[in-house]
């Protein structure tokens, strides 16, 4: 039953035209929800959450750093899945997604590196160390840039998607390294605070704004992917009847 629903969704959203109508219905309410959630989390975290017993107020950059990093990592996993579907099944929507997911992810990876280094100076005493976590995060940014560049350098969009898709799939290995680097080797970066299983080592008064900021960032990412995918679909299907009708309707 669940499998069949997923399969139906896969086929429906696999159609560019259906995706276009679906996204026009979702975006009007997803966009405000994403913005409100993110702003709530950020204001709560940056202004109202208590300061930390060791780091005082400088820990507050966590409310930007962690949402950005987690968004960049999850985005890359989605990029890898799109790459797999694009390479193996040659599905058009997966190629569109491959193009839609990368830019925001690259921006988040950059934000994560910048905020991390600004946070490192007052707490660790350094902006940058070549430890496993930071180096692998820098590689993640390069993987994003590589996927974007590969799509731009090959003119034929279907061929570009296959090349970029393969790079996206291979890069998933790096996501695993980023995630577990703090556990496998000695790093300056501390271990994970939020744990999927077991108790998180953060006070609830700080945890809730953090979780809300993270959710807000992920939703904003989803909004950005939908908007980018819509534009890409319209461009790819520009010669089809339904896009032509859409344009004519927009002109009036």
């Amino acid at each position: 039953m669940v499998w069949q629903t997923i399969k139906r969704w896969y086929h429906m959203l696999g159609s560019p035209r259906y995706f276009h109508t679906f996204s026009s219905r979702v975006l009007p309410w997803l966009t405000p929800i994403a913005l409100i959630t993110l702003v709530t989390g950020l204001v709560w975290g940056l202004v109202f959450a208590p300061s930390d017993y060791q780091q005082g107020n400088s820990y507050r950059i966590i409310f930007i750093h962690v949402p950005a990093s987690s968004g960049a990592l999850m985005g890359y996993m989605a990029l890898g899945v799109s790459g797999l579907v694009a390479v193996v099944w040659r599905m058009k929507m997966a190629e569109v997604m491959l193009k839609a997911i990368a830019p925001f992810g690259a921006a988040l990876a950059a934000i994560s590196l910048i905020t991390g280094s600004l946070w490192g100076k007052p707490t660790w005493g350094t902006y940058w160390q070549w430890d496993a976590r930071m180096t692998s995060m820098l590689i993640l940014l390069f993987m994003y840039v590589g996927v974007i560049a590969l799509q731009n350098v090959i003119r034929e969009p279907r061929q570009a998607a296959r090349a970029a898709g393969l790079l996206a799939i291979v890069g998933v290995i790096n996501v695993v390294i980023v995630k577990y680097s703090v556990e496998w080797v000695q790093t300056l970066h501390q271990g994970s605070t939020l744990k999927l299983f077991g108790e998180s080592t953060i006070n609830p008064a700080m945890k809730y704004p953090l979780l809300i900021s993270m959710l807000g960032m992920w939703l904003l990412y989803a909004v950005n992917v939908l908007v980018r995918a819509r534009t890409e679909v319209e461009w790819r299907e520009r010669r089809s009847k339904w896009v032509q009708t859409l344009i004519r309707k927009g002109d009036q």
Binding site: Y53, Q55, I62, W124, W184, V185, Q186, M206
Partner: protein, 153 residues
């Protein structure tokens, strides 16, 4: 799934698994180089090279910090529970430096019991709480209160 797709899927997965194993082996082989620092246990056991530029990391031993009144010289012991040695440093320590805190020092190992640091970085743990909670934990004698610099083994 038709056979062409199946073939492509198998090929892609094979590439992924192959690369994964290759990266895993590389990680394993370079394990010591990827580690940011040597632990006190390794230093005491003589695994760390003497006289070479390197980093060591560990917890600052309680009550071991000795500051020179006239200069910026400071000496303290670091430990990981399995070994300890003294770090000598001249300069300003990061804000988070305190006894019980995890630190990473960059410098040279003179002997297995003496390290000359040029740079001291504070490692902080993944625990966040308001100061009032920390005070309450300390008053109650809760073991969580001393988590100031839990060592990441």
């Amino acid at each position: 799934m038709n056979s062409v797709r199946k073939q492509r899927l198998i090929l892609v997965l094979a590439v992924l698994v192959g690369l994964g194993i290759a990266v895993g082996l590389m990680f394993y082989a370079l394990r010591q180089n990827i580690n940011l620092f040597y632990t006190p246990q390794q230093v005491v056991a003589g695994e760390a090279p003497l006289g070479a530029q390197m980093r060591v990391g560990g917890l600052v031993v309680d009550g071991s910090v000795k500051r020179n009144e006239e200069t910026l010289d400071v000496a303290f012991d670091i430990t990981d529970g399995k070994g300890s040695f003294t770090v000598h440093y001249q300069g300003i320590l990061p804000d988070l430096f305190r006894e019980g805190q995890g630190i990473v020092a960059n410098g040279t190992l003179i002997s297995t019991s003496r390290f000359e640091a040029e740079e001291v970085l504070a490692k902080h743990d993944e625990t966040y709480m308001p100061p009032e909670v920390q005070d309450a934990l300390e008053k109650a004698g809760h073991p969580g209160a001393k988590k100031g610099g839990e060592y990441n083994e």
